[in-house]
Symmetry: C2
Subunit: 123 residues, 2 copies
Amino acid sequence: MALELSCTRAEADQKQLTRCRETLRMSSNSINTIGKVLALAGNETRLKILFLLNKEGELCPCDFSDILEMTVPAISQHIRKMKDAGLITSRREGQTLYYSLVKGQSEVLEGIFSRLQENKKVA
Amino acid sequence: MALELSCTRAEADQKQLTRCRETLRMSSNSINTIGKVLALAGNETRLKILFLLNKEGELCPCDFSDILEMTVPAISQHIRKMKDAGLITSRREGQTLYYSLVKGQSEVLEGIFSRLQENKKVA
DNA sequence: TCATTATATAAGCAAATGCTTAAATAAATT
DNA sequence: AATTTATTTAAGCATTTGCTTATATAATGA
């Protein structure tokens, strides 16, 4: 890939470009972290799971399978990704695993939930 | 797919399951819309583009290509998705197309930007 | 201990994603 | 009119994603 390292537009504002690069560099950790959360929540099934956990407190894979009309393994795999990312956690009660949101783990998500619950125009 | 239509757990709270289904049904439009926005913003390149547009007002594909060190067609294809979704719009000035955020199109995104700019702990 | 139940994991596969390179538009310049 | 520049579009391809089915693990109960 022979990438042009510089915009050849005569009007290109080099100071702006430098500033932008610096902005990204400064926020790269946040961008990376938030990007992962958004990618997880950007799947409709996972968004529903997160939304329901926010509303109901805790639910088990079997519940989600029933509510979302999906197989348990499909649910389980979505849950795993969110657990790996630290968004949700589990509590065992006998054979049943109850999942819940890890509070304070994502203010971004909480902002989304409040919007969803208010049923506001979101986009 | 022979899907069990009901959780067989003895402890399954049928009222809760019904309530959850209803919750999703009520919010299905919002969930769908917000899900699409999150899926778009859940790509690191697109998140950076949106973030920079929020900060700088407007930028052209050539700028992004330079800043993000990616080919112009790669940028252009990301831009197209966001334009199709109504998140961004363009203004032509000669050969150059300046892209900018469609204001008020996603409060969710605006919430994310403010968090990114404050460089707060996001997740 | 053996079967049942709840969940997780693994392997396989089709569809979606995100890049690449090449070609097409559109506007400006010569 | 021909060339250059900015951008888009298209085709191709490797990677990722999200399901499926089959199997493994863990806890309960007969």
